[in-house]
Amino acid sequence: MNVVLLLIAASLIMATLGLVAFLWSLRVGQYEDLKGAANRILFDDD
């Protein structure tokens, strides 16, 4: 029973971190240029 409580709490915390990270990436504007992001991987910059 204790293990279950611990596991539930742990998974919720991790999932919340994931959600916060996604919302941050949305706010910073990382989804505004998906085509550009795909192409920039191929740039040969030093």
Partner: protein
């Protein structure tokens, strides 16, 4: 004949190393601009650009061209921290290499903090330290490489649309987070119950699920609850109503069960339902937003600046929208008039095809009202600006458009029509189930309620609500790839049910640019073409296209308002107006250019409109599909009759005023026909608004483009055919999806009514039906490749 000869000659010519256009034999570059661009790029050590890039032959080559110098400073914004920033639209970015090149070259300019190209929206965003005048250097640099820059206007409608999209994605993220975690707990319950999970653990799981799901449902359900409420308040119903009712019933019932310590809760179904539906909403909204933004960008690229006359006689360029009534602007020969106004000076020959559809240039003098979109052909004129949109023609068009849109009525989409009958039917079944269990099977009130709710849960329209967006998103994307921009959400459905197509003539069936008529002698043609290559006058451009690859001589002098001249060993060669070349003025009203070579009689080039190369084929194909094709034009009888015969349209009307066209279309609709209108001119605006669905080429007048549901690019008429085909196929896939969704409901409803449905069955059924619908819609993508 001469055309095929020109083609083979062009094939053997070397290609410019910078822009890929054919250049004279023995040369490496086609013009000075390309030579300079190549030297700049190689000099900066960025020569890899040429290896990496992929030029699309259908798009404009990256050839540096002299562009209108617009008012740069009005586009520069000063930030609070002292740096300046500027956003511009970039035309000509074809692949990642172009983005890389522009960013690398700009990064080397002094003071640049940030230079970034957004490939999806084709915008260049720059931030720099130092004086605001650096903007000029930025623009010059990018244009010297062969790209075109145009100031970007922040559109309020686009901003609102972006805000909605962001809030939908946020809701999607929260729904996904909640759905994943609740499902985690639910699977524990489903498998745990058989393995001896006690009621205490189960109740704990239910409580955690409830705490996760309740706020999530309240937040992510908003995009559905709000429109449902709005529709109900107006006495209507749409697909959002059964969704909202279903979600609220499931959540309430599950909450009650949790409080009672009951066995089954359905939080996972509710939140997963919202998650799937939000995916559909986000994709649909994004696809449409992209199409609309592209349409705006095409318009912005087309907008010309105007030359405003200053009190001291000098001229300052400014965007047309930034002029005030009473100011005077000077429009030079070959320039498109950017504002509405009255001519105050100069005798003009105007190409009014975009405004009235007249295929022949109109003479106009001081006192004549002129409209934005008209091209000034022969001589420079001064225009006094009148209030934008107040000119009688424009105001009349706006009034007619508004009236037409009001009369057209609301189109009820298929999904909403299904919802109208679906929701009451489902609720009735639930009621029946409740009464049956209570009265016939003698169950308790709670048990009967539970089973009735299970009926509502299993019939919750997940697949039904996905059926339409799934097909629509894929269709919008497929059309976008073919250069057709779908701006309205209901246009595809309206397009699928049409039985009549009405075409405008000028600019729609015919190409927007004038073309050379007749076959002039090849020597004059190549001489004229060589001179004309240095000018941006529309007639000169048409001459260059007909002449084929030419090597423009280096010392051509442009005489503004009159023509071009070149000193040769034999004397002076001139290309331009009749007065400039010493030719006699002619009686007929054709648009013309004269070429005078020393010791030769002046040669006349005439220009007229040319029909789109596939116009006849497209019309034949439309008629073969069983559609009724009409031609309504504002032009005189003779040109319209010729066009109708050449293209194969038997039903045509000439001399139509805008109001006449609109009345004819409304009359067709009154007789029960469904009409697609294809038009481009200012005078087509009301008929575009009156038709069931409308299309415009991307060269159309701004008002028409704003009214039209679809915009197509390019010089072919085939997009009309492609759009209709796509719409019909999409409609059939949508109907299949709806049948699949309804079929699944019919199968599972009896199961629910008999009390066999448990949470895992509900969740599995919902996911399966959604997958089926998505899979069926993906079939649409494969068949689009025709």
């Amino acid at each position: 004949m001469s055309e095929t000869a020109t083609l083979t000659v062009a094939d053997t010519l070397p290609r410019c190393r910078h822009c890929g256009e054919p250049c004279a034999s023995g040369e490496e570059f086609c013009c000075i601009g390309c030579t300079a661009a190549y030297r700049t790029i190689s000099g900066l050590g960025l020569g890899d650009y040429y290896q990496r890039r992929l030029l699309d032959p259908k798009l404009r080559p990256p050839k540096p061209e002299p562009a209108d110098r617009f008012d740069v400073q009005s586009a520069v914004v000063t930030r609070p921290d002292g740096m300046h920033e500027m956003t511009m639209i970039v035309d000509g970015v074809q692949c990642g290499a172009c983005v890389w090149l522009i960013e690398q070259v700009l990064a080397r300019l002094p003071g640049i903090e940030r230079a970034r190209v957004n490939m999806t929206t084709c915008r260049l965003h720059t931030i720099w330290r130092g004086p605001a005048e650096t903007a000029d250097a930025i623009i010059d640099t990018v244009e010297a490489l062969g790209y075109r820059l145009v100031p970007f206007q922040f559109d309020r409608q686009q901003q609102a649309s972006d805000a909605i999209e962001r809030s939908l994605i946020k809701a999607l993220a929260v729904a996904g987070f909640a759905a994943g975690n609740v499902m985690l707990l639910s699977i524990g319950i489903w498998f745990g119950l058989d393995d001896g999970m006690g009621p205490a653990t189960r109740t704990l799981m239910h409580w955690v699920s409830a705490l996760l799901a309740m706020p999530a449902i309240a937040y992510t359900g908003m995009p559905f609850f709000r429109p449902a409420l709005a529709a109900l308040r107006h006495g209507r119903t749409n697909m959002d109503v059964p969704i909202s009712i279903g979600v609220i019933v499931i959540t309430t019932m599950s909450m009650i069960e949790t409080l009672r310590g009951g066995t089954h809760t359905y939080f996972d179904s509710a939140i997963t339902l919202l998650f799937f539906l939000l995916i559909g909403r986000v994709l649909d909204h994004r696809a449409r937003g992209l199409a609309r933004a592209s349409a705006e960008r095409l318009l912005a690229l087309r907008d010309a600046d105007v030359a405003v006359l200053q009190p001291d006689g000098s001229v300052k360029r400014r965007p047309g929208a930034a002029t005030t009534p009473g100011e005077h602007i000077v429009t030079s020969m070959g320039e498109r008039i950017g504002v509405d106004g009255v001519i105050t000076q100069g005798q003009a020959s105007l190409d009014t095809r975009l405004v009235t559809g007249e295929s022949v240039p109109q003479r106009a003098g001081p006192g004549t009202q002129v409209y934005a979109g008209t091209i000034n052909l022969a001589a420079p004129i001064t225009i006094r600006v009148t209030a934008t949109g107040s000119g009688t023609l424009v105001a009349e068009m706006a009034r007619l458009i508004e009236a037409a849109e009001g009369r057209r009525g609301r189109f009820v989409v298929l999904a909403d029509r299904v919802a109208r009958r679906y929701a009451p039917a489902v609720h009735f079944c639930a009621l029946l189930t409740f009464l049956w269990w209570l009265l016939v099977m003698h169950a308790t009130v709670e048990q009967s309620l539970l089973i009735a709710c299970a009926v509502l849960i299993i019939t919750c329209p997940c697949a039904l609500a996905l059926a339409v967006p799934a097909a629509q998103v894929i269709a919008t994307g497929a059309l976008f790839d073919r250069g057709i921009l779908l701006k309205s959400g209901t246009a595809l459905e309206r397009l699928a049910s049409i039985d009549t197509v009405v075409f405008d003539k000028t600019g729609t069936l015919s190409e927007p640019e004038l073309a050379l008529t007749g076959i002039p002698d090849p020597a004059s043609l190549s001489m004229g073409g060589a001179l004309a290559a240095s000018s941006r006058h529309p007639l000169a451009r048409a001459l260059v296209i007909s002449a084929g690859p030419v090597q423009p001589p280096a010392n051509v002098t442009e005489h503004p308002g009159q023509g071009l001249s070149l000193m040769t060993p034999l004397g002076e060669t001139r290309l331009g107006s009749a007065a400039f070349t010493g030719a006699a003025t002619s009686d007929d009203a054709f648009a013309e250019l004269w070429l005078s070579e020393p010791n030769r009689a002046p040669v006349r080039f005439t220009f007229a409109e040319a029909y789109r190369h596939d116009a006849a084929n497209t019309v034949t194909a439309l008629q073969a599909m069983g559609l009724d094709v009409h031609l309504l034009s504002g032009d005189r009888i003779e040109p319209v009759r010729l066009a109708a015969e050449a293209i194969g349209i038997t039903q045509w009307h000439a001399g139509c005023l805008p109001a006449t066209k609109m009345a004819l279309i409304e009359e067709m609709r009154a007789r029960g026909h469904h009409v697609l209108m294809v038009g481009d001119g200012l005078n087509d605006g009301p008929s575009l608004a009156a038709a069931d669905v409308s299309m415009s080429p991307s060269t159309a007048a701004e008002i028409s483009q704003n009214v039209a549901d679809l915009i197509f690019q390019g010089t072919a008429l085939a997009p009309v055919l492609v759009a209709i085909h796509t719409a019909r196929r999409t409609q059939s896939v949508m109907r299949q999806n709806l049948s699949l969704a309804l079929g699944y409901n019919v199968l599972t409803l009896p199961l629910a009514a008999c009390g066999f449905v448990t949470p895992w069955l509900a969740a599995a059924a919902m996911s399966l039906s959604s997958l089926l619908v998505m899979g069926n819609s993906l079939r649409l993508q494969r068949r689009m490749d025709k």
